[in-house]
């Protein structure tokens, strides 16, 4: 028996292929052009999108497309030990991979000479905050009316006590053998984020991606529902679609 999985049940009571409880909400901030909020396990992340808008300084504007900027930031109280407010190297790298996970779906040529800013604030962190952030950020982009060819949704798989599991919690991420965040454009099947930390056989690697994509599929349902709730719930008892 492992210390993290017993009889197929994980410390928090989940099965190996189960997601943590989640909650998605669209349109949560007044000033932003688009916004969304996600809870996934203990993660609480809020995302705002501003743009397309004028670029400052002007020389970074591009004549044939928009510039995408992204900031992933953790509030000082979001972590077990207080985090200083200045961006860490980890936050800078994660900002980059999140931007690159979202950019493939944005029709950047529609907005020449402009910028789109995506700001993610982690109010409380748990394992998989970058994935949860991507899932919420795609909703915030949609809420801002940005042209996209698909949504993006993300979920991690990993190896814990020798078993491939879905959606690692904080302790599973720290004590487990491997963690692999994956983001995908769900309708096009294009993978836009893949990271791996830890040793996997090629078979486990394939299993992990399959598992992560299955998690993404379920979260994508939740994304669709959140957008419905926001845009098509015209009367309380009239569910659209």
């Amino acid at each position: 028996m492992g210390k993290l999985i017993n009889n197929g049940i994980r410390l928090d009571g989940r099965r190996v292929d189960e997601l943590r409880p989640y909650k998605l909400e669209v349109g949560v901030l007044k000033n932003a052009d688009g916004s969304a909020y996600i809870e996934l396990g203990k993660n609480k992340i809020i995302v705002a999108v501003y743009g397309p808008k004028e670029v400052h300084p002007k020389h970074i504007a591009l004549p044939d497309r928009c510039v995408i900027r992204c900031r992933y930031h953790m509030s000082p109280f979001s972590t077990d030990v207080r985090k200083t407010p200045a961006p860490s190297r980890r936050e800078i790298e994660i900002s980059k991979v999140i931007r690159e996970a979202l950019e493939p779906t944005i029709l950047v040529e529609e907005y020449p000479r402009t910028a789109i800013d995506i700001f993610l604030e982690v109010l409380q962190s748990d394992g998989g905050s970058r994935c949860a952030g991507i899932t919420a950020a795609a909703l915030a982009l949609a809420d801002a009316g940005i042209s996209m060819c698909d949504l993006v949704v993300a979920c991690a798989a990993g190896k814990v006590d020798g078993t491939m599991v879905l959606d690692l919690s904080d302790i599973e991420d720290k004590e487990g053998e491997a963690d692999m965040p994956v983001a995908v454009m769900p309708n096009l099947g294009i993978i836009t984020l893949l990271q791996l930390d830890g040793i996997l056989t090629h078979e486990e690697f394939k299993q992990g991606i399959d598992l992560a994509l299955e998690g993404c599929r379920r979260l994508h349902e939740a994304q669709r529902k959140a957008l419905m709730d926001r845009y098509f719930k015209t009367a309380p008892n009239q569910e659209v679609e």
């Binding site: 901030l29 007044k30 000033n31 932003a32 916004s35 203990k42 609480k44 809020i46 995302v47 705002a48 501003y50 808008k53 900031r71 930031h73 509030s75 000082p76 109280f77 979001s78 972590t79 077990d80 030990v81 207080r82 407010p85 200045a86 961006p87 800013d117 700001f119 604030e121 109010l123 409380q124 962190s125």
Partner: protein, 275 residues
């Protein structure tokens, strides 16, 4: 936060209109001059923090989180714990906020709220000493501003006070060797009075409380006065590039006492609801 770029003609028109309206005792959103917008306070929303509170003041939204650590006291106050208030106006909060270290507006916000709490004597820092001169508790109150719609000082102040009031910290014991042992038991922070700030804007000759962003964009001067339980003043800060008359200041001081008591009840109720 960079000042909003303004169309200067529109700005003058809007200001003229607002002054006219205020002279009749009315505001754009229908409030009376001395009305606050609705204040919503939700405590204990961040489980990883020792204490936390979200305050919505109209559309202004802020979250305060308290983290308690063990640190060294300042050399000149060996017998006092540490209290650090730090507010960040996050870039997601406004089209004019930008990523980067706090600018002078955010620094003033942090320091005004910090002084309101500190000078009120709300937290008895002398009770946070573990080993005098060596180890004390350090109380970090960090505030993330999520949406800017005016009067950040009051929203931040109420969030900080509410978060402190709901803070639980582990019992710590000093072992013989000078090590610190954390117990599984939790106790509240030693706090007494509840400081409440009340912020006024002067627009033309009118004094209003709790300005929203639109009112702030045309205000001439700002003054914040903080009172303690019972109504005495404990902190004040005039801001912006305009002045105030002697009478306006005296009126603000009286009003801060009255409105402060009302808001103090709102805070108490919110805190009690999670008690």
């Amino acid at each position: 936060m960079a000042a909003a770029k303004k169309s200067f003609i529109m700005e003058h028109l809007r200001k003229a209109h607002m002054i006219e309206l205020l002279a009749k005792g009315r505001r754009l959103d229908g409030r009376e001059l001395l009305d606050y917008r609705p204040i919503e306070i939700k405590c204990n929303i961040i489980q990883k923090a020792n204490g936390s509170a979200q305050v919505n003041l109209g559309n202004t939204q802020v979250i305060a989180g308290v983290k308690i650590e063990v640190g060294a006291p300042f050399p000149d106050t060996p017998d006092k714990g540490l209290l650090v208030v730090n507010a960040e106006i996050l870039p997601l909060a406004s089209p004019y906020a930008e990523p980067g270290p706090p600018d002078e507006e955010a620094i003033e916000l942090s320091r005004v709220v910090d002084r309101g709490v500190r000078e009120s004597g709300m937290i008895d820092l002398s009770k946070l000493v573990l080993i005098p001169g060596q180890k004390v508790r350090a109380v970090f109150v960090d505030v993330s501003v999520l949406n800017v719609d005016g009067n950040l000082i009051d929203a931040t102040s109420y969030a900080v006070v509410s978060a402190l009031m709901t803070t639980k910290m582990p019992v710590l014991e000093v072992s013989e060797g000078g090590g610190i042992v954390e117990k599984a038991e939790y106790i509240p922070l030693p706090f007494s009075t509840i400081p409440v700030s009340v912020t006024f804007a002067r627009i033309g000759d009118s004094l209003i409380v709790d300005p929203d962003s639109e009112e702030e964009s045309v205000m001439d001067a700002r003054i914040t006065l903080t009172t303690v339980e019972g109504g005495h003043l404990c902190a004040g800060q005039k801001g912006l590039a305009g002045g105030l008359t002697y009478e306006q200041i005296m009126f603000a001081a009286e009003t801060a006492k009255i409105k402060g008591q009302e808001i103090r009840e709102v805070i108490k109720k919110a805190v009690a609801s999670v008690g």
